[in-house]
Symmetry: C2
Subunit: 562 residues, 2 copies
Amino acid sequence: MSTETTGEGDDRRQSFWAWGWADRLPTDEERRELKSRIEGMLGFPERPLLDLPTLDDVTLAPPRVEPPADLSCAATTDKRDRVTHTYGSAYRDLVRGFHGQFDDAPDVVAYPERESDVQAVLDWAAEANVAVVPYGGGTSVVGGVECDGSGYAGVCSLDMRRMNDVPEVDEHSRAARIEGGATGPEIQDQLADHGLQLRHYPQSYEFSTFGGWVATRAGGHFATRYTHIDDFVESVRAVTPAGTLETRRLPASGAGPDPNRFLLGSEGAFGVITEGWARVQPRPPYRAKATVRFDDYWDAVAACREVVQARLTPANCRLLDSNEAMLNEVAFDGSSVLLLGFESTDSLSPIEADLDRAVEIAEGHGGRVSEGPTTEDRTTDADESRTGDADKAADGSEANDGDEDGDSGEWRDSFVEAPYMFNSLVSMGVLVDTFETAVTWDQFPALHDAIQETVTDAMEEECGAGFLSCRFTHAYEDGPAPYYTLLAPADVGRELEQWRAIKEAASDTLMDYGATITHHHAVGRVHRDHYHEEVPEHYLDALRSMKRTLDPEGIMNPGALL
Amino acid sequence: MSTETTGEGDDRRQSFWAWGWADRLPTDEERRELKSRIEGMLGFPERPLLDLPTLDDVTLAPPRVEPPADLSCAATTDKRDRVTHTYGSAYRDLVRGFHGQFDDAPDVVAYPERESDVQAVLDWAAEANVAVVPYGGGTSVVGGVECDGSGYAGVCSLDMRRMNDVPEVDEHSRAARIEGGATGPEIQDQLADHGLQLRHYPQSYEFSTFGGWVATRAGGHFATRYTHIDDFVESVRAVTPAGTLETRRLPASGAGPDPNRFLLGSEGAFGVITEGWARVQPRPPYRAKATVRFDDYWDAVAACREVVQARLTPANCRLLDSNEAMLNEVAFDGSSVLLLGFESTDSLSPIEADLDRAVEIAEGHGGRVSEGPTTEDRTTDADESRTGDADKAADGSEANDGDEDGDSGEWRDSFVEAPYMFNSLVSMGVLVDTFETAVTWDQFPALHDAIQETVTDAMEEECGAGFLSCRFTHAYEDGPAPYYTLLAPADVGRELEQWRAIKEAASDTLMDYGATITHHHAVGRVHRDHYHEEVPEHYLDALRSMKRTLDPEGIMNPGALL
């Protein structure tokens, strides 16, 4: 068992270095199993089983600033608070945490409970030249919440998680007002009282927050139509150093550049998202799904393209290449696997017709149906959404296909467990990372080949071996959003250097082939240089001038995005 | 026949004062028919048949500036060019044109043929303190292209219509590169060579341009999903006084605030949209449609809401209230009429199932199917899109329901002809205007009642009578986009004063009830004050700082938006 487990019951803690809950850190037995699997399946050289770190091993510099005694909300310089607010949850964060490196820990962690507290922290920070880093679930994988504080008197992490209410629900229009610090499960629980759900399930769902999703343009489980949180947002309210701004709650508007879109993706650089209205819906009791296998990856890609270009809008349209299918234990025969799923809150026959046509298209490209088509009508247990089952039903799992069995069930388990597995991998010297993008269909083949080559070469060069897999998380009429996972045997102590070289190869290739540096992982600090390459220089100038207007002292999350 | 008809064959001219082609100005016979209809159906007092104006009656002040002799493109101070570039196509524009008032005519009209010409005009204008007004089809109904030029040495209208190519098509990803000055029919013709269509049909389709659509966030024919041009745009290229910016062609991205969204709705205030990539599709040969009548308007509203909240995404989901149904000669029995239509490029059965379910929902709310459900499979004449028929098929008509007969056919004819009818109405002293908005479902009943009251009262007070009708042009899960048409007997000579009072009543009511000042008519100068009320003050400050960065001399379309 982990040295972090507190056994304090309700006071369940997140690990100070790893993804997720401290009481879910890997046991030695789990690690041994994974180690043999990695060595066997991927042929990696023998991996060490390193000891898990303890907080006692961590040494922090004393805080450079103290919160003012009369601050309206709780604020602390406590070691554990500072340590747990230093990083996000990327591989490089886990590695640094694992090795006890917390040089850039924030000096202060503040816990606002209402909007006036947020304003008070910003006022103090602007006065005292303290950088403010808005913090939600701490699940950034792009350095979104880490800040070295150079040029500032100190750094304050602004933990929004005490602002976690859903204070208002408009059942008629199907929308809810959600506070910025509410996590996925907290939103789910509060909406369940109204028989509603947000149905936005990023992989970080268990910990990440509504405000964080808006600030980073998070991607959810829908493969089409409702891909980003952007598609759910009716209005946003934010506190900036210049004051509060709130957009009008509207289903749509054509009045000038969309003000919501300035805050979506703003990554804390302009202000703090304190709340917003989001579109919600009942739990969809109708499901239709099928799994299709292809011998040839490019046939599967063609099928996927035809399905979305036919505007069939599946909730799930996840194409796993053969490596991804193997890694997730969905197929070991070299097949590529297309998981198709449709859902409806209203009726079965339209999505049944959609699925039938999607399967027909897939078969037309040489696909073999390995499961389904099956349909489901769960109207009889619709009350589930009002009971404890809702948690189970929507723990990011239902997210993917709404079912428990078969290929898509396997896939779902992997999806939810993946970040926990990363903890184990780090602790046995395995370099593990993911990167994702979006690109037009015509560019995808060249990009994909180039990624295979440059990233595999970089892993070979840095680590002597490597494994790369790809899935489509989302698919658009004009192109897919491919998501790559890489694994390589790292030299313990040199992990960051190795990671950097591999990441650079991947990011450079994305830029060279006209892809985006990120489809839903955001920019943060890790993607900043490539982001600046991706968007027009004059646009960046315009963003900088906006920032100067809203954040004249430049205290908001310096180094992120801009 | 009109005094404007030139009979010069190819050199077909737009009217200098009215909507559309000079050779389609109303004949006296047409006007007499309309006059008796207006007096009979609406009970208006007898209307005069005023003489149509001629260009000879118009007197212009001499131009304040001359284009430089060495400008790289054509530029002129010719009277007809200046007159035809003075206004958009709103009621107040037609009235002023009709009465020969062109006080704010631009001094120069420039006709760039390539991007370097645009840059040359902007360079000259910045140097000479000349305001530049980007001009597409001249179809703005919000004063988007009119500029009084005070504080400037002069005004240059930048007519983009010579940049009208579709130079590149990516059939695999279904996207096309379109120049900013290409009109709806020009885009249609060039895409037909590839068997593709944009399928974005604003009512102004015949004259408005791609760049204008992007700059004003134009609304098209799809009632759901693809409602604004925003939804089609992959990338945008614009020339600003600070230089050229071009966003990357991507199906989606999560990297920072979306740069396309800064140019969508920018209304020429930051720069000139010279081209962009837009998503296109084949002509959809599969259609399914039905017309449903309701005795009670609120039942029809409830049905419409349930259809879109079931996520059935009809291409057409147009709800006409009883006045709108009468005005468009669809129903005279006091019914409200819901036109439902689905289309697919791929197959019939999914949309057939969608329509069946939509009809079932409508019937559940007391609707009676008056036409259909009917389906169509036009795959046998799919080649139409490559022939001259394409023009006919997609002249903004097919836009609405893809069919020629019955209720929806009546409706379609009215839609296309409506702006031409406005010409006649202006010429017989009828005040005619439209305004549109979007609002959440829970607010719609209160808003609708208030609009009925305030606008009808204003018409009574100003004109002694008035007629108001409403349709939904678009419908969202969280609210409708109602579109109001008003008609009132005007006092010739006092029309603008009367119009202003009625418009103010409508706009104030929209603001009071949490609606947007415009769903797809843009802000321009007419909506500017209410727009500033709608969006947060700090956001406007941020937009102004962006403008200062991209347009440091403030020459771009001054007075529009900001």
